[in-house]
């Protein structure tokens, strides 16, 4: 059976005054029905642009330069704006890091949620408002009926994110793209929102693309993980396997550089030297090569493609790290 979402060889570029940014450069991934796929990587590696390519909500100058995006077997690349509008919100919805950017500050919450409902469903204004109160209740908003008349600025960050989730779920999409849904929130509120997303996902049997830079959030919430680096997927694996036996040096180095609460803090952290490459002139070889302590001559000559012993666990590296060898012996000096 085909997956719910299948992305194949996606290239999303952004034209700028001088040249263009190759934000997403040949990404292939899939999400099964009801599954949570984690997409993790550092700032600028192309996570948001991957998600926004599915929604086809790209920034000015942004365009899909190649590849295919199939939702439930239907090709989305090349659809007209009108056709995409039917897909958005209905079959696939998105929530962002900062709810304020996607909430209308001049409209009350009831009007905003019910407007979304009425675009996709033939219902009366009254029915749409009832639905709005129902979804607000679903996302744990206290006194949902009364809140319908509130404006976004009257709510705390956590409550606003609940409103965003309510809006996204009002038409019961099959796929939710959650782009750093909790990054702007305090940890205690983050936990509430992550638990909420998880219980809603179970209840609505929805698939989630969970985009985050936080390996901790991935560890607890994703079924499978795609690790991105500089516009490419460098490793993909089931979550437990990725954390236990990662093969890509970037994944290993990233995990070794995170301070952990449960770890004795006197041990020095690994630190990855240097910076990611400029995506307007990406190298034709391994993009992690200048920062990689395992790099050999070949890494500067060819681009490593995704391979692996099993289709479930794939990595793009000529010198994959072995199980347990992730912790480099001494922290690199700067």
């Amino acid at each position: 059976m085909a997956a719910l979402l299948e992305i194949d060889g996606l290239k999303t570029y952004i034209k700028q005054r001088h040249g263009q940014v190759q934000a997403v450069d040949g990404v292939s991934l899939f999400i099964e029905e009801g599954e949570t796929l984690g997409v993790v990587g550092e700032s600028g590696c192309g996570k948001t642009m991957t998600g926004m390519s599915v929604m086809q909500l790209l920034p000015p100058g942004g365009y899909i330069a190649g590849g295919s995006i199939k939702l439930d077997g239907k090709e989305l690349v090349g659809l007209s704006d009108n056709e995409m509008r039917k897909v958005r919100g209905n079959e696939v919805a998105v929530i962002f890091q900062d709810p304020m950017t996607s909430l209308n500050p001049t409209m009350n919450i009831g009007a905003q949620i019910s407007e979304g409902v009425r675009i996709h469903r033939q219902v009366s204004r009254k029915e749409a408002l009832d639905r709005a109160a129902e979804v607000l209740n679903l996302v744990g908003m206290p006194n949902p009926r009364e809140r319908l008349k509130d404006f976004p600025h009257q709510l705390s960050g956590g409550l606003r994110q609940r409103v965003m989730i309510a809006m996204a779920l009002s038409c019961e999409p099959k796929l939710l793209i959650a782009d750093e849904p909790t990054t702007a929130l305090d940890v205690t509120i983050q936990l509430q929102i992550l638990e909420l997303l998880y219980s809603l996902k179970q209840r609505l049997r929805m698939a989630v693309m969970l985009i985050t830079h936080d390996m901790g959030v991935i560890a607890g919430r994703a079924d499978r993980v795609n690790v991105m680096y500089a516009g490419k997927i460098v490793e993909q694996a089931p979550t437990e396997e990725l954390f236990e036996s990662m093969r890509h040096p970037y994944t290993a180095a990233l995990l070794a550089s995170i301070p952990r609460l449960s770890q004795n803090s006197s041990a020095a952290l690994y630190s990855i030297p240097g910076l990611p490459p400029d995506l307007s002139h990406p190298p034709a070889w391994c993009r992690f090569q200048p920062r990689c302590q395992f790099a050999t001559a070949r890494c500067r000559e060819e681009e490593p493609l995704l391979t692996g012993a099993t289709p479930e666990h794939q990595y793009a590296c000529f010198n994959p790290v072995g199980k347990g060898s992730l912790r480099p012996t001494a922290p690199l000096t700067h």
Partner: protein
């Protein structure tokens, strides 16, 4: 801290402190105003509400807590960017909250602030060399040549090339800008650096570069750090001791490993539970009990214990009486009526 004869509150307040840095009953209130044109005062926020703590020379003290709990305000009070509403800030034997004029400016050199994102706080039209040099120019220290060599030396110490001198802040990455911020904080050879969210704006792979750099500089310069962050893992990694704040109050202080191993305050425990760790087995076996509800308004904090509206252990007395700080170990204090462990004595 045991004294043979306990001092009365008034006596204690009049004694000079022998600690390297000691905050005594520190309070900072801000007026809250409303209306766009006619600003009228509608109340006050106690951003810092009776906080006392002391920090030893060479120590790293971490302050952690959720947004608005008063961390930044404490940092700004320590470096003299704000004046306390009441209370004292003893630094090497003088109450710097009461210093004025030249004496104040001289003491301030020893206490520097490292900003969250130096890009947002530094003049984007200034060359990096001048940004680092500025404190020297302002304080009229050294001639041009001496200043130049100091700038070069500082750049080298924070791992930047001398080419940086003639570049602008926007030509640097976030991690490099944080290095510039560190260099500038170090220019006047301070004794203490308050680092407010030093790595929050940075990517994971860059964070550890900066944290390791901070640790290295602490050793070479004999620095004392106050590290402020909303991220307990960062604070725990960098600090010897950690203070947990909630709505303007210090609710628990302990050596950083003890804070994690044996928290006494339910808020600290909730905070620890809420932090996702990069370990699937651990995360999935966690029996999570999220801290309920939202942060109450800082203008109208709850009566008694400020955490009681979200606390799983709260009982009637929590609304009636403010819990005092009690000792749970040699350097471990917490303020809770129903702590997670038995206190050893009254602090």
């Amino acid at each position: 801290m045991t004294t043979a004869t306990p001092l009365s509150a008034a006596e204690e307040a009049s004694q000079p402190s022998t600690a390297f840095l000691e905050l005594r009953h520190l309070v900072k209130e801000f007026p809250v105003t409303a209306g766009a044109v006619m600003q009228r005062k509608i109340g006050t926020v106690k951003a810092v509400s009776d906080v006392s703590l002391s920090v030893a020379k060479g120590e790293t003290f971490g302050l952690v807590g959720e947004s608005g709990c008063g961390k930044t305000t404490i940092g700004r009070l320590i470096v003299g960017l704000e004046k306390p509403t009441s209370g004292q800030i003893w630094f090497e034997g003088s109450d710097i909250a009461r210093l004025r004029g030249r004496e104040f400016r001289r003491r301030r050199r020893d206490l520097q602030l490292m900003f969250q994102d130096p890009y947002a706080s530094l003049d984007p039209r200034m060359h990096v060399g001048n940004i680092i040099r500025e404190p020297l120019t302002v304080q009229k220290i050294g001639n041009r040549q001496e200043q130049d060599s100091r700038v070069r030396q500082l750049l080298q110490e924070v791992g930047l090339s001398p080419k940086a001198i003639d570049l602008y802040p926007h030509e640097f990455s976030g991690g490099q800008r944080q290095r510039i911020g560190l260099a500038r904080a170090l220019t006047l050879n301070p004794k203490l650096i308050v680092a407010d969210e030093p790595v929050s704006a940075l990517d994971v792979s860059i964070r550890s570069q900066i944290m390791n750099l901070m640790n290295g500089l602490q050793e070479t310069h004999g620095l004392t750090y106050i590290v402020i962050s909303h991220d307990l893992s960062v604070v725990k990694y960098l600090s010897d001791r950690v203070g947990v704040m909630y709505l303007g109050k210090l609710v628990e202080v302990a050596p950083s490993q003890d804070i994690y191993d044996h928290p006494a305050h339910p808020y600290t425990q909730g905070l620890i539970n809420a932090i996702p760790e990069p370990d699937p087995k651990r995360e999935r076996s966690k029996n999570l009990q999220p801290i309920m509800g939202e942060l109450p308004s800082a203008m109208h904090p709850p009566s008694g214990c400020r955490f009681r509206t979200r606390c799983p252990r709260a009982q009637e007395i929590c609304a009636e009486e403010e819990p005092p700080l009690r000792a749970f170990g040699p350097r471990h204090i917490a303020a809770c009526h129903f702590p997670l462990q038995t206190p050893i004595a009254t602090a």
